[in-house]
């Protein structure tokens, strides 16, 4: 069986465990299992925009070397933030001989990176290598009647050259939702920034953005919002309690990872699901059956 060289990223090992649990379970059923690389480090978290700042490329490149050592030329991740950083690093050094030479000279304790590792997001793999038809075939519990709003945020789409889809009109998550027989929700803020790390110093900013994004999804009829980024997920989920305090009429919106939605439909372990979804919606026995 084919398998994927999988890079989890730090968040999937603590804050976002349910993302990894569901992704692992789903990919096993889809017969393209995720196999974690044996040794890996943080992706680098934020891509450095300084042209000559090679130091901040080391984290990504060291991971590419691990992939190379594992005999692969592809690294797959489901975290949108890791994807973005890794992908941009790969574009920055792959085929850039002078940069590679410098970096390899600094990392003289490692084998030289050859500049050949390709970075892919799990959604791309599902679209391009598995196909929506196969996802539909693997489905046990169709999500008929469930309205799902895809939330892309920034990292899957921008900048354009690393986007897994058209940054102005992405369809990849909509197609996935379609394949699971749920109703994709169109709304204005699917690619709006969640506020990212501003949550550390300017939490009120995130509360405001969460309100804007989730209210828009709600008005468009969404029962649930799906994401692909642990930071977006954290921001959208954790600031809702503050939102409720400010606006007593605010109704909570469940937010979950796209792999969890798949896990529910494919009847495999989804990890911990957002509670309210289960209370307000039932598409049959399947929903919420996931352990965790």
């Amino acid at each position: 069986m084919d398998r994927l060289t999988y890079f989890p990223g730090c968040s999937l090992k603590d804050e976002a465990k349910e993302f990894e649990i569901s992704a692992m379970a789903v990919m096993k059923v889809l017969e393209l299992p995720l196999v974690e690389i044996e040794r890996w480090n943080c992706c680098g978290t934020v891509f450095s925009l300084t042209e000559d700042d090679l130091m901040h490329q080391l984290a990504s490149i060291r991971n590419f070397i691990r992939v190379q050592e594992a005999g692969s030329d592809e690294i797959v991740t489901s975290c949108a933030m890791c994807y973005n950083t890794l992908k941009r690093s790969s574009l920055f050094v792959n085929h850039a001989e002078e940069r590679l030479e410098k970096i390899n000279a600094f990392m003289d304790e490692e084998v030289a990176y050859e500049g050949k590792v390709e970075v892919r997001h799990l959604l791309e793999i599902i679209r391009d290598r598995i196909g929506w038809e196969k996802v539909e075939e693997a489905m046990i519990y169709p999500l008929e009647g469930l309205s799902v709003a895809p939330y892309y945020g920034c990292m899957l789409l921008r900048p354009r050259q690393v986007g897994i889809d058209d940054p102005d009109n992405p369809t990849i998550m909509r197609d996935l939702i379609d394949a699971l027989w749920a109703t994709p929700v169109e709304y204005a803020f699917q690619a709006e920034c969640c506020g990212s790390y501003q949550v550390v110093d300017h939490r009120e900013l995130i509360v405001e953005r969460t309100h804007r994004i989730l209210s828009s999804a709600r008005r468009a009829g969404a029962d649930v919002v799906v994401t692909s980024c642990p930071l977006c997920q954290y921001n959208l989920r954790e600031t809702q309690s503050e939102l409720k305090e400010k606006i007593p009429t605010y109704e909570e919106m469940p937010v979950m990872y796209f792999t969890q939605l798949m896990a529910v439909a494919l009847d495999v372990d989804s990890g911990e699901l957002p509670g309210p979804l289960l209370a307000r919606f039932s598409v049959g026995e399947g929903v919420g059956k996931g352990e965790g």
């Binding site: 730090c10 603590d14 040794r39 890996w40 943080c42 130091m55 080391l58 984290a59 060291r62 304790e109």
Partner: protein
């Protein structure tokens, strides 16, 4: 005297050149040259971590790292004495810690600044994968942090070299403490033994010993049953 015994090497200490006998450790060679270690020397056996040092070889730009009491002095070494440079350490009460995944980040948030440059690993005289344990800590894997850092002797070279201001060795020590206190499995025989002690199973034997005079103790010691080796 054979030629071997006569052999001397040239070393440079703080920029001044000395001739010392071959076959000495860096620390011995410096003492032979007249330096006296008031700080930066301890057990002289490679365990205490007090004598971490840096040096260069002629014609090589790379800094080398070692314990002065363990590494042999070589011809052409440029040696220095490092000042005492303790890194700040977080205060915590082990009994009041919540051993969840984020606890290391909570007390040592700077580990999130790691750029994976691996300079710490290159500096470690114990050949520990320092960066790998910082990365394990970052993703909340306390057991792996503890296991990878097990051989650390707290010399602090990693921290001296880190461009991200991480206090590797203090953080890892905390991980090992948390592991030992909360996460490591308790061996069955230990639990059994502790239970027996609490139930007073050993009390009568102990009371007998306490009641003996010196002569009786000596006799009892000589007559003790020894476990087969």
């Amino acid at each position: 005297m054979s030629e071997q015994e006569n052999a001397t090497i040239r070393i440079h200490i703080m920029g001044k050149t000395y001739r010392v006998p071959a076959g000495l450790t860096i620390m011995d060679a410096m003492e032979y040259s007249g330096y006296r270690f008031i700080r930066g020397a301890g057990c002289r056996s490679g365990f205490c971590g007090a004598c971490s040092t840096i040096y260069r070889r002629e014609e090589d730009y790379r800094l080398q790292f070692a314990l002065a009491c363990q590494e042999m002095a070589e011809d052409g070494m440029y040696l220095v004495q490092l000042p005492f440079t303790p890194a700040p350490r977080s205060q915590y009460d082990l009994e009041k810690i919540d051993p969840t995944e984020n606890v290391l980040l909570q007390y040592y948030p700077e580990i999130a600044r790691c750029v994976s440059c691996n300079t710490c690993t290159k500096a470690c005289p114990q050949d520990i994968e320092v960066m790998d344990y910082v990365q394990a800590a970052l993703r909340g894997d306390i057991a792996r942090t503890a296991a990878l850092s097990f051989d650390c002797i707290q010399c602090g070279l990693c921290t001296m070299r880190c461009p991200a201001d991480i206090k590797h060795y203090h953080m890892a020590q905390m991980a090992r403490r948390i592991y030992g206190r909360y996460l490591s499995p308790v061996p069955e025989h230990l639990e059994e033994q502790l239970r027996e002690i609490e139930e007073g199973v050993c009390d009568s034997e102990l009371d007998k010993l306490v009641a003996m005079n010196e002569e009786e103790l000596v006799l009892a010691y000589a007559a003790r049953i020894r476990e087969e080796e």
